[in-house]
């Protein structure tokens, strides 16, 4: 019983070329709004996601903190905070993967694909939505950091640039998250991604200066993209940096831009291709 007001295909705006871009943006915004509504309807999710970084503040800042040293001097808690910001960004790809696999396994992705919406919006909406969520994560985390006495000694511009670099890392990891989300079969498997995320975030300069690690591990740590972002933000915040002498550490600022671009250049096409191949 379709009622008189039920719209049909004939009532829809034309899909001419100029309007394509309009709908790509409009549909993206609809998907972003959906993500934001998720945040509003489940604020506990943010708390849950931030639980680990906040517990880490206490654990590393206060429990282990006194045993931690920053080579070259400096307060460990000052050193730690940018590391936790970086870790939270690094863990973010799991949120992306989880959201993607949830939609795919529940058939929501198929519903989107069977609709006349801009197909790019599923991916772009996910990206923008995740960046908004990551910004909220950072806001809460910075609040916590301020409470335990962390300060940015850089200027406004440097501080803003530091947060920009953090979000750039998060942006790059969205594509790894989308790709993994399309590859894993279900939510449980997505949970196992933590086994990947944990070493990725920890074997870096986030908690401990790589110069204090065994040689081979230190090398892995300094070449970890998370390290470049964390080291660059430490420099921008004016926090203790403790850079070793290697080229990659000397050029952290450059690499904090290059790494995310490289990751995006590799994984964005892979993620899009994987999405397009859902029709095989």
């Amino acid at each position: 019983m379709s009622t008189l007001t039920a719209p049909t295909a004939a009532d829809l705006p034309e899909l001419d070329r100029e309007r394509r871009f309009y709908w790509a943006v409009a549909d993206c915004w609809t998907i972003v709004r959906r993500d934001l509504t998720h945040l509003i309807r489940q604020p506990s999710n943010i708390a849950w996601q931030l639980g680990f970084p906040i517990v880490s503040v206490l654990l590393f800042g206060y429990v282990f903190g006194s045993a931690m040293t920053v080579p070259g001097g400096g307060d460990y808690r000052e050193f730690l905070m940018p590391g936790l910001f970086g870790m939270t960004m690094a863990f973010g790809f799991m949120n992306t993967a989880y959201a993607v696999v949830l939609d795919t396994s529940k058939g929501v992705t198929d519903r989107f694909r069977s609709m006349p919406m801009a197909s790019s919006a599923v991916v772009t909406g996910r990206g923008v939505g995740d960046l908004v969520a990551a910004t909220l994560d950072l806001v809460v985390l910075v609040g916590t950091a301020l409470v335990v006495g962390w300060r940015s000694d850089g200027g406004m511009l440097a501080t803003a640039a530091a947060f920009g670099l953090l979000l750039l890392l998060r942006f790059a990891l969205i594509w790894i998250g989308v790709l993994l989300g399309l590859m894993v079969p279900n939510e449980e498997a997505a949970g196992n991604l933590f086994a990947l995320a944990f070493p990725f975030a920890i074997i870096s300069s986030a908690f401990v200066a790589p110069s204090l690690m065994p040689g081979w591990l230190g090398t892995i740590a300094v070449w970890n993209p998370v390290s470049s972002t964390v080291t660059a933000t430490r420099e921008l915040f004016g926090n203790p940096v403790s850079s070793g002498g290697t080229w990659i550490e000397q050029n952290a600022m450059l690499m904090a831009v290059v790494w995310p671009l490289v990751i995006t250049a590799i994984f964005l096409p892979l993620a899009v291709r994987r999405y397009q191949r859902l029709n095989r």
Binding site: S2, A6, R34, K106, G107, P116, R280
Partner: protein
């Protein structure tokens, strides 16, 4: 322009996954404004067919038209004219029912005001107004399916595809979905539904296609299909296997078709037309002949029997069920 063409047309569709031919020359023509049932066991290729017709999958060969548009060449045109209710209730669990419909409405490119009004309308139509502002997580299985159905008809689709819409629902939820489908068709929508249940197709469909191993093996009205397998069945289970021939003899007099015996279960069954006469007659004959009967009864033909008759093998002996059929996400 589309009126002269069938609502759904498939010609020689092919789809394979590795060595498994999910579709192997799938042909179909679905007339407008009716429920068309696509019936078959797991792995017959029903879901693959629906996924190709709804533009989710690309066929390896053959072609298909939905609402007059080729699905491979004009996917967007097709998408504006179809609704899809899959095996899962494909709705956002965190959002409320109303938020879901509004979101999907926006993605169908209804303006904000129109999406809202249409959402309210559908909530009312599917009896979800009371639960409209509750999170879908709190919905029952039947309510989720109804919301899913509502989402699939935001645009009053010309063709609505429903892939096993009642699988996993309790009888009440099932009935709710059936009512919704009937009212849709009354409004002029063509519904193509897949099911494993003969009685569901029987209840709803004006025409049924039966699938096996990736192709349509029979295509007719439910009444005609049933008459090919003889309608109701009389079934006798004897106490001793040695009485099977006697039971066969008692049954054969009443049946137009040859009775079938199943020695392992000491069971004899045959199609009958006049139910009550057959039951009394067979019972009397068996008693007169002194055959010890464990059970005797009438029952509706099952999908298995349709299969056995049409293909010579049972539905559950279907050898190669592609994984895609079960998971539905390729």
């Amino acid at each position: 322009m589309t009126a002269a063409r069938p609502a759904v047309l498939a010609k020689g569709l092919q789809k394979r996954y590795g060595d498994v031919r999910a579709l192997d020359g799938f042909d179909l023509a679905v007339p407008h404004s009716m429920v068309y049932g696509l019936l078959g066991p797991n792995g017959a290729g029903k879901t693959t067919a629906v996924r190709i017709l709804t533009t989710l999958l690309r066929p390896d060969g053959g072609r298909a038209e939905v609402a007059g548009y080729d699905v491979a060449r004009w996917p967007r045109m097709v998408r504006r004219r179809i609704g899809l209710a899959g095996q899962f209730a494909a709705v956002d669990e965190i959002l409320t029912g109303r938020q879901n419909l509004k979101m999907f409405g926006r993605l169908f490119h209804l303006g904000p005001g129109r999406a809202g009004r249409r959402a309210d309308e559908l909530l009312e139509q599917f009896d979800l107004t009371e639960a409209a502002d509750k999170g879908v997580k709190e919905y029952s299985g039947g309510m989720r399916r109804r919301l899913d159905l509502a989402a699939s008809m935001l645009l009053a689709p010309q063709v609505l595809f429903m892939d096993e819409p009642t699988t996993g629902l309790d009888p009440r939820g099932r009935n709710e979905v059936w009512v919704a489908i009937r009212s849709l068709v009354a409004g002029g929508t063509t519904v193509m539904l897949t099911t494993q249940y003969m009685d569901e197709a029987d209840q709803l469909a004006g025409r049924i296609a039966i699938m096996d191993a990736g192709r349509v093996i029979a295509d007719d009205t439910p009444a005609a299909l049933k008459s090919t397998i003889g309608g109701d069945q009389i079934e006798v289970i004897v106490r001793k296997a040695t009485d099977i021939p006697a039971a066969m003899k008692a049954v054969v007099r009443l049946s137009a078709a040859e009775p079938t015996s199943d020695d392992a279960n000491r069971r004899v069954h045959a199609p009958v037309t006049d139910r009550v006469a057959a039951l009394t007659e067979v019972a009397r004959t068996l008693q007169d002949d002194g055959v010890a009967v464990e059970d005797i009864g009438l029952r509706r033909p099952t999908l298995d029997e349709v299969f056995l008759r049409l293909t010579g093998h049972r539905a559950d002996e279907q050898p190669d069920a592609p994984a895609q059929e079960e998971v539905a996400t390729a």
